[in-house]
């Protein structure tokens, strides 16, 4: 493998409080040197990063890659390529596949498919309960042995407090977070958007903020009881932020993530029965958005995660209440955050890198999240000023279900490097780490 020399970019690495123009040398899949005055080896491939930001690779701790089961809407390969195109060097795949990823063989399958994809790294998340049925614990130990980095019944809440408690206790042995999708199911039953004035006017059954908050506080209390690490997925309400703050103030081991859409869109977006604005948890109010942005700023929310959820066109092209929840997010996340948080002054680029790279790595105990010497060469190079219009038909993902289609956003990945190999470069076709075997899938994804 030829060394890579990233010349003249702004190196931002919050893990070392670095924010300065410099060069970065990558050799043998790790970071060999960074700073000023490094000489490029003669055989190095030089990438001009002038005017671009060079940061530790983004890590998405929450996405749905649909394989096995729904390869028509996404595969691990297309998902990993979409991740790379969005500047992510690693993603964590949720286990609500078909069959459910609830055993070591299923986890191993994802690991193998990810290796074949040769794009972003894919870390499997195992199920908490067998079949995500909320009854019997899955074998955490064997799943971790096969490569799982966390457990979750995402898509479904863990309804039984006793099961959640046990999961948090049992997970301590393996030092993995237990991720919960916080939703009190009797309160949310039949709901398809946030409960409020818009749901009342549209005649859609609403999901109150309290459906999330009740489970948030339950999980925080169970984390206190068990001493385990609870990671709260896709937080969407102001109340949740306050409860997480309460938990953190007391030293409870709780971490939390927020999705770009909950930071940038409100329930107003559902008007007109826009199925690409339908997700769970639903888009909330401006007050919630603002509280979440402040929580990203002050660190109450640790991680920005996409909840990338591809769906088939036909599934979204229908009556609102019957359409599935979720939107794709891997290829718009960076731009939505730059446009809505950085450009509007909530956070700076070091904070963005912190929430999209360093903290995800720390919270999920993953390699990456740093540009220090010897660290794996997972690197995101992005153009913080690039202004572009989202065209879902050009996504590497098979999913086109995005509410951002047609919107003009700022910020875009220029180059994504995984283990020292370029897996994505803007303006060039998306290809695998070693090329080959991927063209057909990319083509099909666009068709």
């Amino acid at each position: 493998m030829k060394p890579l020399f990233l010349r003249g970019g702004t190196l931002i690495d919050p893990s070392r409080r670095l924010n300065a123009v410099g060069d970065l040398l990558v050799a043998d899949g790790v970071i060999a040197a960074s700073g000023r005055g490094i000489n490029a080896p003669d055989d190095a491939e030089v990438i001009d990063c002038g005017g671009l930001i060079v940061s530790p690779g983004f890590i998405d701790v929450h996405c749905h890659l649909r394989e096995p089961g729904r390869e028509d809407v996404e595969t691990i390969a297309t998902g990993a390529k979409a991740a790379a195109a969005g500047g992510f060097t690693a993603v964590c795949a949720m286990p609500n596949t078909d069959p459910v990823t609830d055993n070591q063989a299923a986890v191993g399958f994802i690991v193998r498919q990810a290796q074949r994809a040769q794009a972003a790294r894919v870390y499997p998340i195992g199920a908490i309960s067998l079949g995500q049925e909320g009854k019997v614990l899955a074998e955490f130990g064997e799943m971790v042995g096969a490569g799982a980095v966390a457990v979750s019944d995402d898509g479904k809440p863990v309804v039984s407090a006793q099961l959640m408690r046990t999961a948090l206790e049992y997970a301590r042995t393996f030092r993995i977070p237990v991720i919960d999708h916080c939703e009190e199911p009797t309160l949310s039953a039949g709901g398809s958007m946030n409960e409020g004035i818009v749901s009342a006017q549209l005649g859609l059954k609403g999901i109150p903020a309290e459906a999330e908050e009740i489970m948030v506080i339950r999980d925080i209390l169970l984390a206190r009881l068990s001493g385990g690490h609870v990671h709260l997925a896709h937080m969407s309400t102001k109340g949740s932020v306050e409860l997480i703050r309460w938990g953190k103030d007391r030293g409870i081991n709780v971490t939390a993530e927020v999705c770009p859409h909950h930071l940038s869109l409100t329930q107003e977006r559902v008007r007109g029965y826009e199925t690409n604005a339908k997700m769970n948890p639903p888009l909330r109010t401006e007050k919630d958005c603002e509280a979440l942005r402040q929580a990203v700023k002050d660190g109450t929310i640790d991680v920005i995660a996409t909840d990338h959820a591809p769906h088939h066109y036909d599934e979204k092209e229908r009556e609102f209440a019957d359409a599935p929840n979720g939107i794709v997010g891997l290829e718009t996340a960076l731009a939505v955050i730059v446009t809505n948080l950085v450009e509007k002054g909530y956070i700076g680029f070091p904070d963005l890198v912190e929430r999209m790279s360093c903290t995800p790595a720390r919270v999920f105990n993953l390699p990456g999240g740093s540009l220090k010497r010897g660290a794996p060469a997972d690197i995101t190079v992005f153009d913080a000023k690039a202004r572009w219009t989202v065209d879902a038909s050009q996504f590497a993902s098979k999913g086109r279900n995005t509410p951002y289609n047609g919107m003009t956003l700022v910020g875009r990945a220029a180059c994504t490097i995984v283990a020292g190999s370029v897996v994505y470069r803007s303006g060039m076709p998306v290809r695998g780490r070693e090329g080959g075997g991927t063209r057909r899938q990319t083509k099909r994804a666009k068709g």
Binding site: A200, Q201, L202, G203, L204, Y273, E319
Partner: protein
């Protein structure tokens, strides 16, 4: 072809007070047609209208059908059972297939909120919402308002209370939009478990007790209590509902004034409304039904591009109205 109402009638939320008045004014001359021995004018001769009913309906479907036939349109009724819908065809495919047969208008009733808009966004034909889920039922709202206007004249400042299950009622939503746009004062009354949580933001008064509503209102629009709501646990029983929220003679007798009683039907006598009220001197429940045909004729006529000032002429038995627009 789009008239002064736009292409479709999806709800009263999107109409202005002007447009609502236009429909009501246009309905006036159409009322008389139904009183004739020969109840037919040629205003929509040659137009093809599909009544696409995915939900059971007797009153609304028949009312639309009469309106269409009295305007001389050719109509086809499609119901969800016994059609390709029951074979799993999607709404959009059903609509496109119908449109491929070159139709002019679709009247749609569907259990999903937003279904009418979904259809309207995807086909060229005029779409009339005959009730979508718990969203809107604009022609019902219009006929309620027409009935109130018959009695009150201008609705500005008139006090109208909608009673019952507001949460699940498309009739309530259309009434609230329409009445407030015409300047009426609107209130709702019902158990809080059957009011939307965000009702405060609707700009209506809220009465927790029906006695207070009766004291305030000049007219009550009493909504049907849907029994499936009880199995869903919104209220304990029909018996208690009647005792606490039912509109009874005794309650009305305590009011200072006569109160006009409306009900969109079908009624549950002895539940939300007692028989002596429904059949009493201040009930306009059957006038509502009569007005329903006239309002729907007006909507069909205007959406087809008919000019409001020609409604009189259309009524007069000539086909001038239609020729003028062509």
């Amino acid at each position: 072809m789009t008239g002064t109402l736009g292409k479709d009638l999806l709800g009263l939320e999107s109409l202005t007070g002007e447009q609502i008045r236009l429909i009501l004014d246009t309905a006036e001359p159409f009322k008389e047609i139904s009183e004739r021995a020969i109840k037919k004018v040629p205003a929509l001769r040659g137009s093809t209208i599909v009544n696409l009913f995915f939900e059971n309906s007797t009153r609304t479907r028949i009312s639309f059908e009469f309106a269409e036939k009295r305007l001389s349109a050719d109509t086809v009724n499609v119901s969800a059972t016994g059609s390709s819908v029951s074979k799993g065809e999607t709404l959009v495919d059903t609509a496109r297939n119908l449109e491929a047969m070159r139709i002019d208008m679709v009247v749609i009733r569907h259990s999903a909120s937003g279904a009418a808009k979904f259809l309207a966004d995807r086909i060229q034909s005029n779409v009339i919402n005959a009730g979508d889920g718990t969203h809107e039922h604009p022609t019902q709202g219009l006929l309620d308002i027409l009935t109130l206007r018959d009695r009150f004249g201008d609705l500005k400042g008139r006090r109208i209370c909608i009673c019952g299950d507001i949460l699940h009622s498309r009739v309530a939503r259309s009434n609230i939009w329409g009445l407030t746009k015409l300047g009426a004062e609107v209130a709702v009354c019902g158990p809080r478990s059957l009011l939307p949580n965000a009702i405060d933001e609707f700009g209506v008064k809220i009465f927790d007790r029906v006695e207070a509503a009766i004291e305030w209102a000049e007219a009550l629009n009493v909504l049907r209590l849907q029994f499936e709501r009880m199995t869903a646990g919104y209220i304990p029983s029909a018996r208690e509902y009647n005792r606490v929220f039912g509109i009874s003679r005794e309650r009305l007798d305590r009011a200072k004034r006569d109160i006009l009683i409306l009900h969109p039907g079908p009624m549950n006598r002895g539940v939300e409304i007692d028989s002596d009220v429904a059949d009493g001197p201040h009930s306009v429940i059957l006038d509502q039904v009569t007005n329903g045909v006239a309002v729907r004729m007006a909507v069909l006529y205007l959406l087809a591009g008919g000019k409001p000032e020609l409604a009189e002429a259309a009524k007069g038995g000539s086909s001038r109205g239609r020729e003028e627009r062509e």
